[in-house]
Amino acid sequence: MSTGTEGLVSGNPGPRSWRVKIERRLEQPRWLMWISPIILILAALAVGAVLLSIVGVDPRLAYSRIFSAAFGTPAGWLRGEIYPLSDTTVKATPLILTGVGVALAFRMRMWNIGAEGQLFIGAWATTGVALHLLSPETSPWIMIPAMMLAGFLGGALYGAIPGVLKAWLNVNEIITTLMLNYVAIFFNNYFIYGPWALRGFGLSPRFPRNAWLPRLMDLSDRFPIFRGLTAHLGILFGVAAVVVVWYILKYTKWGYEIRVIGDNPEAARYAGMNLKRNIVLVMMVSGGLAGLAGMSELSGVVHLLQERFSPGYGFTAIIIAWLAKLNPWGVILVSYLFGGLLVGGDQIQPFGIVQMLNGIILFVVIGGELLLQYRVRILRPERIVERAAEASGS
């Protein structure tokens, strides 16, 4: 650990120069931990505003549109409008599921960048069950769990491929998971333009009613306030996934192994932990959650398989997991933020603005870890001399 003195010895400051020194903090002050997310998000918005105006978009207009679409307007709140919250929940649902899956893999330092592909394969498997395996008259009590299982298994098996390659052949999982995203999308397209196509439009036929997840609006007979609200049962899958992953990580032996492997794989190996099995298992659970996100999106929102049902949920999940510091509960919070950004993004063109902001937020946050882990000190000339004398004296 650097304490700052040897820098003076090995460096060559010159007797009269000012020096800027960046050194690691020994402990993080509490106030900084609380305030830093706010600073970082404000900083990201500021950087985003600069870049937006460089490319010719009025940042104030873009931001105010995004905010009002995502979270409503004060006038709307007074009228009791809750649909922006419902819309944001709809977008947050797949983000929570993919985000918590990615966070689990990242916790073991398995860079699963393939949540998007796993989500597509989950959606594909779901469609197979809903349209081809089970008859449309199947009771929803059987249909929905079967679809959930198919979605999870589809994503899990697809996630297992890079896991196996990593565990036994030491193949870099970043590239394989990424490549498999593209493969999954072509695979999907083959089915929606080929065998499952509805008149060649790149759409599958619509799911039977029994394969739809219940939405808030389905309850509007009893609760008129829910009229037109599209938030669906999938959000509960998301919350359940968060609870399960949090419990696994915190209270189970397996979770302990995941954490140890993530922090120090060599130590884990010496302790007799099975790295290969853990890599494959973690990739399967991570992929399975992404597959479940695909199921929930199809069964809760789109009700059919199509080419572009995901605006990059699986990629946004990476940002979300990192921003949440890989904490499952944090994933919910951050997913709502990015869900809001997605809802707002539907109101502005081009859609790239949202992706750009996503990237900038991530950038500012990782760069901003400097704020937490390091401190910048400016050393005046006298002090250098003084401290050098101290160092040589002691």
Partner: protein, 325 residues
């Protein structure tokens, strides 16, 4: 017989052309990684280079100016990664991913007015005198756009710089054992900045060569993962420019396959009809990505067998006075 020969010559020639952008990106990433910095932002830098080159070329009518600006913007973009991962010592994997997100989003915003543009000026293509007349090889290698020829020159040049010059030696030292390099008076962070920048300039060049010569149009995400493929090819290439070139051209041929198969010559048992089936396209389109995975498996196995591997300090920030390589 000559039908088959023409068909294969066409595939290989197209492969050399369409592998050229990946070649630039791969060599750029070789430089960055040899200096110890993993930059997963290649896709984003390529997209920024591609959109800038295309827009400048479209607006000014000068493709060379477009090329220059594309290269420059790719380089500027890479400095974001350098700042976060070298100076601020952020996580290199996540910083690279962030760079790709920003590049994707920003290029789609900049490229918004360009979607229907089909008449942007391109970089010139010409035959190399004499060499172009060699049967078969002439068509494969010497009847191309100028960017392809620059690529031919870049490969030996990059190899020479890395393996036979003093700056190349310093670069490798910084990537393998920064503490030792530091002790010898080599500026670790400064050199890392430099080679991340080189990687960015070449990624910008990769994007520019795509939109100014190889597929001269702009659609959102026009690179279609080629930046990622470059990162994969670096591992396959074992951080060597010549193997990078081999991988890139092979990738190029495979990438063009769905198009080329439409013109497949007549084969026995009507196999050509299967090859020309449009639904097969969905699977042939997967091939470049599957190819990259296959190539990674080969590269990783070889690295394990020969104990050759990534530069030892790849992915780790260097902090003077702290333990580690």
């Amino acid at each position: 017989m000559s039908d088959y020969l023409i068909f294969f010559t066409t595939i290989l020639a197209a492969g050399v052309a369409s592998g050229t952008p990946v070649l630039y990106a791969t060599i750029g990433e070789v430089f960055s990684e040899r200096a110890g910095v993993l930059n997963l932002g290649v896709e984003g830098m390529m997209l920024m280079g591609a959109v800038t080159a295309f827009r400048v070329s479209h607006v000014t009518g000068n493709p060379w100016l477009g090329l220059a600006m594309g290269i420059l913007v790719g380089g500027l973009f890479s400095l974001l990664h350098a700042l976060v991962s070298i100076t601020l010592r952020g996580d290199q994997v996540v910083s690279g991913l962030a760079l790709t997100f920003v590049g994707f989003g920003m290029s789609s915003v900049i490229g918004w007015p360009l979607i229907d543009v089909r008449d942007a000026p391109r970089l010139p293509a010409f035959d190399i005198p004499l060499l172009a007349d060699i049967p078969v090889l002439g068509k494969i290698f010497f009847q191309h756009s100028v960017v392809v020829y620059i690529g031919f020159l870049l490969v030996p040049l990059a190899w020479f710089i890395i393996n036979r010059t003093r700056p190349g030696l310093h670069m490798r030292a910084v990537g393998e054992y920064p503490a030792a390099a530091d002790a010898l008076g080599i500026h670790v962070d400064r050199l890392r900045y430099l080679y991340v920048l080189v990687g960015g300039l070449l990624a910008g060049m990769a994007g520019a060569s795509l939109t100014l010569a190889i597929t001269p149009l702009w659609i959102e995400g026009v690179t279609a993962g080629q930046g990622w493929i470059a990162v994969g090819l670096v591992i396959f290439a074992g951080w060597d420019p010549f193997r990078a070139a081999f991988g890139s051209y092979l990738f190029g041929a495979i990438r063009r396959l769905p198009l080329d198969l439409q013109g497949a010559p007549v084969l026995p048992w009507n196999l050509h009809l299967i090859l020309r089936d449009p639904l097969l396209n969905y699977f042939t389109n997967m091939l470049p990505y599957l190819f990259t995975i296959a190539v990674l498996v080969i590269g990783s196995r070889e690295a394990m067998r020969k104990k050759l591997g990534a530069p030892a300090a790849l992915g780790t920030p260097y902090i003077r006075g702290e333990r580690g390589v």
